[in-house]
């Protein structure tokens, strides 16, 4: 199977969206989510395909995709680590958490580790300020982080991520 193409499941989801709302354009943001769920990023090729299925101009999907920061436009590591560095998290050491991750993974902000497993980025408040510091990895929140917990998590991801098939992205 061509891994760059929409899966049968994604196409079905997109078809369902097409006529679900009072106005077809309302399907755009949900369509971006379908693409993101399958690929872990939202690239031009995928958008073109999705646009055909929902029968909307590609530019309208692209215009929306460029506005929303949640969707990476290029591939990222299998584990996409987003660390909140807004105020409440920063007050409990979020900046040093970022440094710690970058040092441990030996990678720069936004880059993919050579094994393809990790990308670390900083993000704004994720609505988890009472459990700071925290990070989101793919779809999951990890809260009240300590060095020990981060070490454990990274090890877990490495173990799971190098298994055949890997994690769902």
């Amino acid at each position: 199977m061509n891994t760059m193409s929409l899966s049968k499941e994604s196409i079905e989801k997109l078809q369902e969206l097409k006529d679900k709302f009072p106005d077809r354009r309302t399907a755009i943001l949900p369509a971006l989510h379908v693409v993101y769920d399958q690929f872990g990023y939202v690239g031009d090729e995928q958008l073109k395909e999705a646009a055909e299925v929902v029968e909307l101009p590609y530019v309208e999907l692209a215009e929306n995709a460029s506005f929303y920061t949640m969707f990476p436009k290029k591939p990222v590591g299998k584990y996409f680590i987003q660390v909140c560095t807004n105020l409440s998290c920063a007050l409990l050491g979020a900046d040093s958490l970022v440094d710690y991750l970058l040092e441990k993974l030996n990678v720069k902000l936004g880059e993919i580790t050579p094994d393809g497993l990790f990308t670390v980025v900083t993000v704004e408040c994720l609505g988890s300020c009472g459990s700071a510091p925290m990070m989101q990895v793919n779809d999951e929140y990890h809260e009240n982080l300590t060095r020990e917990r981060v070490d454990e998590l990274l090890e877990e991801f490495r173990r799971e991520g190098t298994k055949k098939g890997g994690p769902p992205s």
């Binding site: 929303y68 040093s96 009472g130």
Partner: protein, 427 residues
């Protein structure tokens, strides 16, 4: 412990399922409404309760509903604002993850009151777990015919869609949220016209916050008077305070409106992290001016916080201790607003960008004399001159830190380093 309304069952396992929700008295308000009340009567009850919007502005919910024209031939819409992205605020997430049916029941009642047949829950994109919880809860409610066609034989129809955002703070602003659902970039609209007249798809629309709507079933069940007996005269009911930052026990606390800031931080929050000294508090999310410790006795209700020089906003209370550099706080929050500005109007787009540049250079030891005055000047040119309130929201972080801690700015500029020693570290 004061009476809890919204959080009464929040820690009970299974409260997120329809079975446990109903065992605990859920979905009794909805049949009552459909059988006994006209839409206008529902609106009147909510008006009498004094319930005010919990999304930041504190506008009376029942009054908002009554603005929807009754004679309009156009369809009406209800929007449920679950975009929660104001830094320091994390209450809606807990409500929708742990007690989604409370929100759904309140939303159905609100939709009935304004006679909307379609609703959208706009949930912030990052809340993946919350979205799953709501999707499941919505289908449970459909199975029981609390949603869908001819609800409980009343002849009233309602569909609620779950719509996931894409990580843009501005889409929590009501008109940007509508643009976003309409499949356009989230740029705020100029008002008037107001959403109650021209909202989603150009139709009359009501938009309310998650916490606001979650209160509605309880008001129906126990009455407007009961609700109004809690809190203060003008700020009725309870409020969920999101307590975060350098405090021993951060978390969400549901307390009567009008509780003092001191009680919240010291009794419920257990006091300051590592027993340090308190330096400043943001009482209502990152958009509200900081308060200094001499204001600890302020009552947390809409009116009193304004009197003390700030705003209750979304009630995200951020606690900062003596080790916090106020220039750094201003820089960090300005970075946020600059990043989230939708770019539609110049004062906000350029103003936040310019302020960020100045704060960055002060932070990096390259500040110049006159920078503080320049920052205040830019604040004056943003506030009141923007299309939506995001521009105004970017001002307090800068202006209020200068107002209370100008010596830290001056020190930074003169000595090219921070006046406060030690940075927070995670261990």
């Amino acid at each position: 412990m004061p009476e809890k309304i919204l959080f009464k069952y929040i820690d009970e396992p299974g409260q997120d399922t329809i079975k446990v929700y109903m065992k605990n008295g859920g979905y009794t308000a909805l049949p009552k409404v459909l059988k006994e009340y006209t839409p206008d009567q529902v609106t009147d009850i909510v008006k009498e309760s004094g319930l005010r919007g919990r999304g930041g502005a504190g506008f009376p919910a029942g009054v908002k509903w009554s603005f929807v024209p009754k004679d309009s031939p156009k369809p009406k819409y209800l929007l449920i604002n679950a975009d929660e992205s104001e830094p320091g605020t994390f209450k809606d997430r807990q409500l929708l993850e742990r007690d989604p049916h409370q929100l759904i029941e309140g939303s159905i009642i609100a939709a009935y009151a304004v006679q909307a047949h379609t609703g959208f829950i706009y949930i912030r994109g990052e809340f993946g777990y919350g979205a799953k919880q709501l999707l499941r809860a919505l289908s449970e409610a459909e199975e029981k015919n609390f949603l869908g066609k001819n609800i409980l034989g009343s002849g009233y129809d309602l569909t609620i869609h779950l719509h996931r955002g894409g990580g843009a703070y501005i889409c929590g602003e009501e008109t940007a949220l509508m643009e976003s659902i309409e499949g356009r970039r989230g740029l705020s609209r100029v008002r008037p016209p107001y959403p109650a007249i021209v909202g989603l798809y150009g139709c009359p629309t009501v938009i309310n916050n998650v916490e606001t709507l979650s209160n509605v079933p309880h008001i129906i069940n126990k009455g407007a008077e009961w609700f109004a007996s809690m809190g203060t005269r003008k700020s009725t009911g309870t409020k969920i305070f999101s307590l975060s930052g350098q405090v021993k026990r951060p978390g969400n606390y549901e307390l009567p409106m009008g509780i003092s800031l001191r009680e919240l931080i010291y009794e419920y929050g257990g006091g300051i992290f590592e027993d340090r000294e308190l330096k400043a508090v943001i009482p209502g999310g990152s958009s509200t001016p900081i308060l200094t410790p001499d204001k600890l006795d302020v009552k947390l209700d809409f009116e009193s916080v304004v009197e003390a020089g700030s705003m209750l906003g979304s009630a995200g209370v951020i606690v900062m201790d003596e080790t916090t550099c106020m220039v750094n706080v201003a820089w960090r929050l300005t970075r946020f607003y600059q990043h989230e500005s939708c770019g539609k109007c110049t004062p906000c787009r350029e103003g936040t960008y310019w302020m960020l540049k100045i704060l960055e250079r002060i932070e990096n030891g390259k500040g110049e004399s006159g920078d503080v005055e320049l920052l205040l000047d830019i604040c004056n040119y943003i506030e009141g001159y923007t299309v939506c309130p995001l521009g105004d929201a970017a001002v307090p972080a800068v202006r209020s830190t200068i107002e209370h801690f100008q010596e830290e700015y001056d020190y930074h500029i003169r000595n090219k380093t921070c006046m406060v020693k030690g940075k927070p570290v995670f261990k």
